[in-house]
Symmetry: C2
Subunit: 349 residues, 2 copies
């Protein structure tokens, strides 16, 4: 069965997914009997394309590499999608699955949420690594998907390609979660690692993170804990059925942590980490993001650099920790592939 | 749909599974629409029972707690299974799934392999945490299962309830594995941890492990690396399609590691671990079990005590490490439940 995909947003993650689809074409066919056609792409900056027979991905990536627009693909030929915006592309394309890969806006979750809704309203499954819709409207979108017998899958929203929801669904089935606790922001973990390992002060470590591309020019979302907050809200709502908003959780960033405090902790055998955690207590979700001084024996204390990790504390299995990449073009592209494969698996039954 | 289960072996793991089935009955029904009937049990030491309407598990566990035999369940009533051995019980019971939970024999993989074959030959799916059949006959049994349109699932064979195969199948789908490397024996990891953290010598650490129930009276299988060897052979054959035997892999235990060597490594910022690893090199599987001196920055260096861990190094995701329990009554029982749920999920489509 050929799975028809529509891509909304064709930046880093979208191109990562396309690269994987080229690189793994034969493998996916052989292993999962999975074949794919990308039938639509829409990017706010680069234009739109609707090709029901399937887009030649190599040709498209080649154009993008040359700095050209997506609609240059049809140069000289009529392009019915030329004037369309993302919503029109979603509505009019023949995709089975829409991959929503636009930028995250944590305040409004737009335009991503409108894209997700339009897809679900027009009978298309949705996979996304965009934190916005999952943070602010998970319950609503999940219900909308279920009512339409569709999937709304979000594996990449918390640790990019490092499995979270698939791990829980398939590896931990039957467990009740007592607490989830993790390092969900690579930028701040990189900064804290540099401050401890190399005795850097905060400003220098931040500058290095910016130079290496880990931190944005405006680092607020990372260093003040907003990014980790969004992720712990998603975990609370998906895995603890919480229905909380970001404002329901306590948030403290790393800007109050000076080098002296970190080095003093180190001397005592402790390590500061920006810890996101959530649990249910007396029927209420207690979620927070804050620096914590961990003993070195804590599995999360060993997570250095830009890596992410999550510890699930469960009634049957006790504590299980997974660590891996928390960002990256191919890594996040992989999270989208995994969700698409899950849907493909169900569709081809 | 009610899933009918036959239990072959009713020791620690079998009783762990039964306890979970009682404790989680409502949860499993609500969450997965999963209901179960245990229709047969056979234990070499405790007797056999065939009850097509389903065994009252609480009553049975109560009898076992009192040190009674399984067949005491039918005291005073006729018990058609009284004279049956495991093979007859497997053949004659009406189970959808056989859980093979007898003791592991790494030399012969018997009687477990005969149990697995009989089940597959009589149309029953098999789930097992028994390392024997998976170590010596994985390919044969997998093929036999496929030819009969049945499942042969072995999640619990490597790290008990800590997900390995389900993690790969659902979390890493699409990746090629470059190398798998792990700590797969809790006993030796406990001993090495004690030698380093408390400066114990090997003999004292071993005695403590025996006292705490981590090590057997004859510790050979653990300390000489046979247990970890079986697990890395399973990983090689299942995840790298290796078809290797234990004799194809290099094996070195921890008995050559003295306290001095461990403490010297510690001074230099290293830590000795018994590492099982496997990769494909030029079309050949290179698998081994041996002590390795790891830098403290290696995720496996942080695994202390009786915990287990595995690092998957992959082409798309890079390195992802999972750590958790590697043994335990409820933990291993959970691995069986997870495999049963996967089969149930497919059967109820």
């Amino acid at each position: 069965m050929t799975c028809k995909i529509g891509l909304i947003g064709c930046g880093t993650v979208g191109q990562g997914l396309l690269e994987i689809l080229i690189q793994k074409k034969e493998y996916l066919k052989k292993t999962f009997d999975f074949d794919t056609k990308v039938v639509a792409i829409s990017d706010m900056l680069k234009g739109s394309l609707l090709i029901p027979e399937g887009i030649d991905i190599e040709k498209l990536l080649h154009l993008l590499e040359q700095g050209k627009r997506i609609d240059a693909y049809l140069e000289g030929k009529p392009n019915e999608a030329k004037q369309m915006d993302a919503l029109q592309v979603i509505e009019q394309c023949d995709a089975d699955i829409i991959a929503e890969l636009t930028y995250t806006d944590i305040q409004t979750a737009e335009p991503a949420t409108s894209h997700v809704k339009k897809a679900l309203q027009t009978g298309k499954h949705v996979v996304t690594s965009n934190k916005g819709p999952a943070t602010l409207f998970y319950d609503e979108l999940k219900k909308m998907a279920e009512e339409n017998n569709l999937f709304f899958r979000i594996e990449g929203t918390v640790m990019s390609g490092t499995p979270v929801f698939n791990l829980f669904e398939h590896g931990f089935a039957g467990n009740s979660i007592k607490e989830i606790k993790g390092i969900l922001n690579g930028t701040t973990n990189f900064i804290l690692s540099k401050m401890e390992e190399e005795g850097m002060d905060y400003e220098d470590a931040l500058k290095l993170a910016q130079k290496l591309g880990y931190a944005e020019a405006d680092p607020t979302a990372d260093v003040e804990g907003f990014d980790a907050l969004a992720k712990i809200v998603i975990l609370s709502n998906v895995l603890l059925q919480g229905n909380i908003k970001p404002s329901d959780a306590r948030r403290e960033g790393i800007t109050s942590l000076c080098r002296e405090k970190i080095l003093e902790a180190k001397k005592d055998g402790y390590r500061y980490k920006l810890i996101a955690s959530t649990k249910e207590e007396k029927g209420r979700i207690e979620a927070s993001v804050a620096p914590q001084k961990l003993p070195l024996s804590d599995p999360l204390a060993g997570i250095m650099g830009a890596n992410n990790a999550l510890t699930f504390d469960m009634d049957l299995l006790g504590k299980v920790t997974i660590q891996g990449p928390g960002a990256g073009k191919i890594e996040t592209g992989h999270s989208i592939l995994v969700d698409i494969l899950t849907i493909h698996h169900h569709l081809s039954k």
